[in-house]
Amino acid sequence: MVIEMEKVLVYDCAKHETRIEERDIKLPEFEEPEPPEFQKKLEKVIQDVEKIKEIVRKLHPEITL
C-alpha cells in the first residue's frame, strides 16, 4: 500500500452534490498476477519435450529434430 496526495471526486448522496478534494489516499501497488495454472503446466510440458529431444539427439544423431 502507498499513500499519495491525489484528486478525489466526492459525491454526497444526502445533498446530491459533487466536489473535488485533494488529499492523501491509500492505494494498493500494482502487482503482476501469477501465471494461470494451465500456463505453468504448458511450460512444464515444453521443458519435458526439450529434454526428450536431447536424449533422442544423443542416441540417434542422424535424426534431425
Partner: protein, 193 residues
C-alpha cells in the same frame, strides 16, 4: 383537492411530477438511483458518501475509462474508509477461446486482505461492470461483481468483514498509477423497500 380526468381515462405520465413517483406508488420492486457521478477531469478515486445508514441492497454500475501509467488493471472498493485488512476477495478473469467455444480461466486473484480493499474486477482498458452489494449491519457485507469487454469477462466476489455497521460510503480506486479518465461514470442504485 381537485381531480382531473382525461377523456380516455388514461394517466398521462408527463403530468406526474418526478417526486410523486415513490416506491409505494409502484406495485413491484425497483431500483432507485441514489447517486450518479460523472467524471469530468482526471481523478484517482471516487467516493460515494452519506449513503443511508440502514440495511439495504445496492447495485453499483461502473463505466470506468482507464488512464495513467497503468491502463490494464483492476479497480478496487473500500467501504466506510476502512483501510484495515478487513476484506476478502476472489476474482476470476475468463477469456473466450474460440477453438473450444468456451470461456477459460486466464487469471485468479485472491489478494484483497493485504490490500485493505476488495478487487472489484480485473478488466483491461475501458471497464464496464455491475456489482450487487448486500448491506446488513449485523453480518459481513458481501459484494459480487460481473464485468467484461470484448472476449474477457470477470467474476469477482468479496466481503467486508464488518458485522456492526451499515455501509455509509463507498470508495472506488485503482492501484497507484491508474486514474479515472473524463467520461467515466458511476451510478449507485438501491433496491426499493
Amino acid at each position: 383537492m381537485a381531480q382531473y380526468y382525461y377523456s380516455d381515462r388514461q394517466v398521462k405520465t408527463e403530468d406526474i411530477v418526478d417526486s410523486a413517483v415513490t416506491p409505494a406508488k409502484l406495485s413491484f420492486g425497483t431500483w432507485e438511483k441514489i447517486a450518479e457521478v460523472n467524471v469530468t477531469s482526471q481523478v484517482a478515486q471516487v467516493d460515494i458518501t452519506n449513503l443511508p445508514a440502514e440495511d439495504k441492497v445496492l447495485m453499483l454500475v461502473l463505466n470506468a475509462i482507464n488512464t495513467g501509467s497503468l491502463t490494464s488493471c483492476a479497480w478496487f472498493i473500500r467501504f466506510n474508509n476502512d483501510t484495515g485488512t478487513n476484506y476478502e476477495n476472489t476474482a476470476y478473469v475468463l477469456f473466450y477461446n474460440p477453438n473450444k467455444s468456451a470461456f477459460e480461466e486466464l487469471q485468479r486473484h485472491d489478494d484483497a486482505a493485504d490490500r485493505a480493499c476488495i478487487a472489484e474486477t480485473y478488466i483491461p482498458m475501458t471497464h464496464v461492470s455491475h456489482s450487487i452489494i448486500y448491506d446488513l449491519s449485523s453480518e459481513e457485507k458481501t459484494i459480487s461483481s460481473y464485468g467484461g469487454t470484448g472476449t474477457i469477462v470477470t467474476i469477482a466476489v468479496g466481503e467486508w468483514k464488518n458485522t456492526t455497521d451499515n455501509i455509509t460510503s463507498i470508495s472506488i480506486f485503482g492501484p497507484s498509477g491508474l486514474y479515472f479518465a473524463p467520461g467515466s461514470k458511476i451510478i449507485v442504485f438501491r433496491l426499493s423497500k
